[in-house]
Subunit: 464 residues, 2 copies
């Protein structure tokens, strides 16, 4: 990469009459041939012509690596080098771009990416856990060796979530990023609301249909959403220590909650959201939790396994993208779009690691930004939803109301539904804007009332 | 731009230890200081730090050009070179990037862009008319002089419509692109539906509020939508002769249509849509017309001045982006994102003109694709909505039904509303999927029935 600059005096530049000799093909090494890896090979087979037309050169699969060589993946591997060891694939001198589709924040996935970067090879990955947890170290490596890492597929599958923040909002002042980032959770919440079935029931069905993993905790406990949020918040604001993001999943959302939410004019969605801190030195607010969203909002209309990514910037205003956030085709499409971006600008040394809002330019010598901690949601001012099972007798509402009053929380709506047990009712309310900590304390005190049979379920209304 | 390729044998590349000496700032020449131009200067003032952090260098406004030098635009022009002649601005040796915000498909806007390109200077423009009508010639110039033209702001304001097709779907097979591309029309249709007021009434109000121009025909007759559609279709499929796209605006949509649509479970939206032709040599279908969209579809939830851009690709599936499609802030944000992209990869010679799906690489010698004609909508198979005022007497429905039967059109739903005149009713129906030409012919024959008082209004249901 030269540092030549295009600031020379004006003169008519010479028209380009270079010969039409074809550039040599770019050679991919694909590590990991699971659902996404096989999807990528299928895409490259079908869209070969498109890709070379878009990039001005051919892109070929040179080498692959996976655990089981014999397995039929529905795509031909003829003429493709096989590596048992994915690190050997990354180091294969005939591989120009390393595509990491192994998954997992450490182990072979991390080794593959680090080895590729140390050799100055660009990396394309769909690995959200790796980027969320080690993006900071990888950014330093990427900068040191001037090798780009692209990861559009890590957030929101086919949705251009990374590009939305990195490219679309690159010159603007981002106020807020996030959205519905996990299709499994959204499927479960939508099904529960539509059918009135329990969480456990719908989860079983989702596992049977392949929408949820055998061990579903990464999805339903919000960890996957948090990985994606950390990446978006890092791009929009500053790199966040992943472990500082407070995460609540959807295990404790009941069919009563979904019924109450609908009656009150809301839907329940698992959201990951990050907001710019108020001052330059204030860290961004970032959290993952099930929220009530107004039924006429864009997020409320996102059903089933679909995802939605939102960003709001000072000049651009609010932007929402919806689409398929997971699956072989959508994820492979996003991976291929990153490959195309590299091929189009080959050899690309800029965009070395467009994470954390820093685009390391060789000559700028800027450092990767340091990691910060998320502010969490404890001090947020927002409307909140509260629900609990209470005795069906006079005075209960008065007890609840006085506790809320004592904590400075004012009530906007209250409703009741009958409960299964005699003389029990489900009570739900939505507050006026209140401090999150005050609401949490009020919920703790309500739990101690004899007429209340459980710690109230509390969910934020989003937007506040 | 060297043709060196990164396919050398593996060796550990040398870490970059270049000094942190700052790169010289990139110097913008901004031609046109109307709403968007002033918005851009305001953005550059507020987001200066963001932009230089993202780009690894400063970006400064070096020169401006506008009709009236004295006008107060709310931004300081101190230290900025003033050019009365925008072409002189384009040729100013101290201008590195030319930003064209004059507008109009010909005249000074075109002269500015052509002059800049012939000097090898990158151009950023928000000018949809220019790109839609002369993109093909500009692509050739851009390729010849290796100067990029970026135009994200030309389609959908802040929405990353161009990036969605050009970057996100770059390796995939696009099946369909389009959407709600004009905020003025969407505002009028939404207002008419919400208030029951007439087209003329709401248009007057939109003009008073500044949502519609004094001469509103470019918006309400669908020309603006067609400009944007031509750009998207060109990126997704092939360059289209703009004049070959059939365009119908919203002048003839009545409050009755909106009432019927709601009753039947639809909303009315002005859509521009383009679909891949069935065979490799079949031109893409492309049209602009008011359509009925199902009330639970993503497009139906887009209200007021908001825009929606949709794309569907074979692997990615359907993608929808919503946001503010016009206005100073959103358009300036998109213009600035293109400036940032250039600054980040400076000096950028690739992406020379990412229009028409061809990314001209200096060494590839590929030609810009030739222009084609749109297939139009005459032979589309779709459900259709038909509405007309008829006599309120027995036998009318039988007459209508037999005409439709004679043309092979089968009816799915029929409803009637009372009309203003005694013994008149408004009748509306939705067909089963039928040939567009057959429906048009049936409408012509229906108009000749004595019991029918007007040529029926016909609108496509979308998707079919």
């Amino acid at each position: 990469m030269t540092q030549a600059d295009h600031t020379a005096p004006v003169e008519e530049t010479t028209p380009d009459h270079s010969p039409s000799s074809a550039l040599p093909p770019l050679r991919l090494g694909v590590a990991g041939l699971g659902t996404v890896g096989a999807g990528l090979l299928a895409l490259l087979e079908r869209c070969e012509g498109n890709l070379s037309r878009h990039c001005g050169r051919d892109v070929v699969v040179q080498a692959v690596s996976a655990r089981s060589r014999g397995r039929d993946r529905g795509v031909s591997l003829e003429g493709v080098t096989w590596h048992d060891d994915p690190v050997a694939l990354a180091r294969d001198p005939e591989v120009d771009i390393v595509v990491e589709l192994i998954g997992g924040s450490d182990g072979p996935a991390r080794a593959v990416v680090e080895n590729a970067l140390r050799l100055g090879k660009p990396v394309v990955t769909a690995n959200k856990a790796l980027i969320a947890r080690h993006g900071h170290e990888l950014a330093a490596l990427s900068q040191q060796y001037q090798a780009p890492v692209l990861y559009e597929a890590a957030v929101g599958g086919a949705l251009p979530a990374v590009r939305l923040v990195r490219d679309t909002c690159s010159a603007d002042e981002v106020l807020c990023v996030g959205g519905i980032l996990n299709g499994t959770c959204n499927y479960i919440l939508t099904e529960m609301a539509n059918t009135g079935r329990s969480f456990a029931d719908v989860l079983d069905e989702a596992q049977a249909k392949g929408y949820a993993e055998a061990d579903p905790s990464t999805d339903i406990d919000g960890v996957d959403t948090a990985h994606k949020l950390a990446i978006l918040a890092g791009l929009a604001f500053q790199p966040l220590d992943f472990t500082s993001i407070p995460v609540t999943g959807i295990r404790h959302v009941t069919t009563e909650d979904l019924r109450f939410a609908a009656t009150l004019g809301y839907r329940v969605r698992l959201l990951g959201m990050a907001r710019r801190g108020l001052g330059a030195s204030t860290p961004p607010e970032a959290w993952v939790q099930p929220c009530l969203v107004p039924e006429d909002s864009a997020l409320a209309t996102v059903n089933g396994v679909y995802n939605a990514v939102t960003a709001e910037a000072h000049f651009a205003g609010p932007l929402v993208i919806t689409g398929q956030g997971a699956g072989a085709g959508p994820t492979a499409s996003a991976v291929a779009s990153d490959i195309a971006a590299l091929a189009r600008n080959w050899p690309s040394r800029t965009h070395a690691f467009p994470l954390w809002g820093v685009h390391s330019q060789p000559a700028s010598g800027r450092d990767v930004l340091g990691e910060g901690k998320a502010a969490g949601a404890e001090n947020v001012t927002s409307r909140f939803y509260m629900r609990c099972e209470v005795d069906d007798r006079p005075g209960v509402m008065a007890d609840v109301a006085s506790i809320l009053r004592d904590h400075g929380v004012s009530v906007h709506q209250v409703i009741q539904h009958e409960a299964a047990l005699p003389n029990h009712v489900h009570m739900a309310l939505v507050t006026h804007p209140a401090n999150a900590e005050a609401v949490a304390q009020a919920a703790q005190r309500m739990a101690m009332l004899p007429c209340i049979h459980e710690t109230p379920m509390v969910m934020k209304v989003e937007p506040s």
